[in-house]
Amino acid sequence: MGKLKVAFVGNPNVGKTALINAIAGTKLKVGNWPGVTVEKKEATVKVDGKELYLVDLPGVYSLSPFTIEERITRDFLLKERPDVIVNVVDSTNLERNLYLTTQILELGIPTVIALNVWDEFRSLGYSLNLDKFEELLGVKAVPTVATKGEGVKELLRLITEEEIPIPKPPTYSQDLEYFIKKVEPYVPKGMPKRWTSLKILEEDELILKELSDKSAQAVKGILRELESFFGESGNSVVAEERYGFIRGVLKQTLREPVGKKRTLTDVLDAIFLNRLLGIPTFLLIIYLVFKLTFDGSGPLIDWTDGFINDFVAKWVSAAISGLPEWLQSLIVDGIIGGVGTVLTFVPLLLFLYFFLALLEESGYMARAAFVMDRLMRVIGLPGKSFVPMIIGFGCNVPAIYATRTLESERDRKLTALLVPFMSCGARLPIYALFTAVFFKEHQAEVVFSMYVIGIVVAATVGVLLKKFFFKGSAEAFVMELPPYRIPTLKMLWTSISVKLGAFLKKAGTVITATMVLLWALINVPYGAPPKDTILGKTASAIAPLFYPTGIKSWEPVAALIPGTIAKEVVVGALGQLYGVGEDEEEGEEKSSFTQDLKEQVVGFGQAVKDSFVAMFGSFKTGVFEVESEEGPVSKAISKAFTPLSAFSYMVLCLLWIPCIVTLGAIYQEFGTRLTLASITLTTIVPYVVSTLVYVGGRLIGIN
């Protein structure tokens, strides 16, 4: 036998992805909110010489889709017909989960049930008569705990060793069965008969559309008959019958706990969803995320900075002193000065990813959407749109894909246009660089203000777009709020390492390439002062355009343009532009390689200690002293900017075209028109806002 195609299907947030990760050792994205997986993902494993092809699908509550991601699941099941379906259910919510199961059983595909989240099921005090449960549903079921790998072996054994039978679909009341028989002849060829018949009775639009005119006519008649017989729409009738069947099964098999316990979730929700405290708590949490990110990573950034600029640069220069001068310049100025500056900020991203993973895994994400619903409605979006926006704080690209969980096309487009204003991790290095020079005392506050400005701008743009382009109102808020869960370290680490890996890959490819290109632009003709090079001339020519925003020199403009490729490039470019011409202060005291290395190691230990002190030592920021000498970049920046124009430049970078990959995602999801709209928005808006900041600041006497 060849490959076995196994599809994992179930409600959102029941642990389908976690289960696949446990089986195949993959690192697919898991998170504690509904709608993490928004596209089909695959993994392969070999079990006893048999190759299994596992397919992770977006979670669905039924096989009648409301969103694009739900459509992916349905299409896969109908068109690609997997060999086996693993129906993953959340054991603590069997009634609701089995609603989908009844539909799956009608597809005529061999199915097994994974009773996941079995740990919580037990601790809540439930119990299940497994044999009876299997008998009544006519399929095999295995209790699993995906996060701990429990039950995975048994599940695999079921899939690989036994011939899984095609399940017998549930039978409903005689009256309904009569109507099912009646529509059966009109089921289009190639569609599973019973499943499709029921979908027709449920008035599933996608199926009704596929019927020929004649069939459609006949079916309409049957639906009318059904409606007058039951006194309800076919949709309600079938739903009630399905639940009737499920309740029958559960009555005989499930024992519910007696008496209710107040759970952790009840306690936390009383605070996080409180009508008065909800929003302030949200703001506090976001503030803490950025405060801790900054304070914690500060000392480590200083260390990395020193490590790259003093240690790596020094010894690499020494090692390559035999090479032609231009090549040395390319390596030292272009690659170490450019890419190195970007890599300096790895600790920053590490901390950011850690705290975002904490938000995603704890279950708070869905709560943020819940409390923001009322505010979001003002800008014409449902609270659910807030999930992609928070994801956008990490990276805008997955945020664009995350819009797939929104029901209406209008909401999706509007959200995608606003996501780029959410300050992503790649923009943090820019703030770190500038705040370290100009706002040392209030780093976290100034950076926090960037996020707030991003949100306020998004809200304002949202209101305007709603008024002129996206009329109508947002889709109703319907969202499941998962229980709070304490994230395991392993999960957090997976999440962080995947993101960090992606960042390093980006640094090694796109950013390095851009830096080399930029080096060429700055150095042709070689040896000329930067201002007379190709880039210098071009940037100088357009620089006057930016005068109103307070940027009076050409270098920041020259950095912003390649920054469109990836935002990290801005700091790298500044590193190169200001590094060039500044001759390295030679003549440092001579030290040996091992001496230097030892110094770095000791410095690292100190940095880790400082990081802890900075994070937990006090609630206020700025407890750590910046120890490293001011680098050439910082020095140049402090000359070229005033605090006000630095702030204005940060705002410009915040709102400026996010990056080429985000634009690519928008193009892929929405096409040319929306991409152009996004580019227009993210050039005009930043220009206007920065100008307002600068002119406004000058008017009230700030410099």
Binding site: T92, E95, S233, R275, D373, E480
Partner: protein, 74 residues
């Protein structure tokens, strides 16, 4: 019979009727909210309505929640 947003918080209720279009109906029933289902009302003011269906908590915006008519159990 009252509509969901006007229920007392902390009450256990049973769904009697859903006065909505096909779409709303299908969505709610797939989430376990259908005529005959038992719900616990957790939160009705200051944002979406929050109900507990079995062990799951579901947030419903005012518009869709007001289509769900329920009767108090106790």
């Amino acid at each position: 019979m009252v509509s969901l947003p006007f229920c007392g918080e902390g009450k256990e209720v049973r769904v009697r009727e859903i006065k909505g279009g096909k779409r709303a109906l299908e969505r709610l029933s797939s989430l376990g909210i259908y005529p005959g289902a038992k719900l616990e009302v957790l939160n009705t003011k200051g944002g979406p309505v929050l109900v507990k269906v079995g062990e799951s908590r579901i947030g419903l915006g005012f518009g869709i929640a007001s289509k769900v008519f329920v009767e108090e159990e106790r």
